[in-house]
Symmetry: C2
Subunit: 146 residues, 2 copies
């Protein structure tokens, strides 16, 4: 039973990789699993720490880059020089992220969450500026820490 669940997860992950025409490798599976089994965003460092088996740092960098390129994960800007990554919803496709949700950073537990139900507001810009992507990061206390 337990084993079956793992198998299922494994299939889910393999499928995701295949759909993005990526070969199925140990590190890619492990890193995707980390994203799937926890709600928040992960920084490069988190991944190295949590990935029980040790992968080369270079592999982690390259894997994250590949996932971003494929639209599997997206980056979240921070004010502390440590980019965080989070899974994209299915609407994302290669080279075209539809991450119109906002991001929430809990000042207590320091976790970063995608609030998929909260869409970024329209921003009215001064004359002469034209808007592309809008990124909103809210700091505060999350549901769990309240």
């Amino acid at each position: 039973m337990q084993k079956e669940l793992f198998m299922q997860m494994d299939n889910q992950i393999a499928g995701l990789l295949k759909r993005n025409s990526l070969s199925i490798t140990g590190s890619r599976k492990k890193i995707l699993q980390l994203f799937l089994e926890q709600p928040g965003a992960l920084a490069h460092g988190d991944i190295e720490k949590r990935a029980g088996e040790k992968f080369d740092r270079v592999t982690v960098y390259r894997t994250l880059q590949t996932f971003v390129d494929k639209g599997i994960i997206h980056t979240i800007p921070t004010a502390d020089n440590s980019i965080r990554y989070a899974l994209c919803k299915d609407e994302c496709s290669e080279g075209h992220h539809h991450d119109h949700h906002i991001h929430f950073v809990c000042t207590n537990c320091t976790n970063t969450y995608c609030l998929d139900d909260v869409v970024t507001p329209e921003i009215k810009l001064p004359k002469g500026y034209s808007a592309g992507h809008v990124e909103v990061v809210v700091e505060g206390i999350c549901k769990n820490c309240k």
Copy 2:
């Protein structure tokens, strides 16, 4: 005449430092001048490059940190692991930034601007989340590049 203008600038800078009870030193004056004489935000690297006279890297790090602590400059999060800094308006005070404006990153010239007249919108969060600071970064084409 030219010299007088420099003097004036110099006084302005010295005054700003004094008001924040910071001693007046060469590197602080030079770095402040860089911020004053250009509209956008600066990353640590920009400052090292533009500060004709060479300051020790450590001095630049410590100066920026001091300015942030005093509320003279504030940080702008980015998605490329290079924090940018911009001058605060006068309303900022030590340990208490009132930077409720949004930030604009031009994808063409890569400059970052504070749009002081555009205030951050209210964000309605899901139940359980409480909002503190809201950071909005808009990517697009700026006035000058249009």
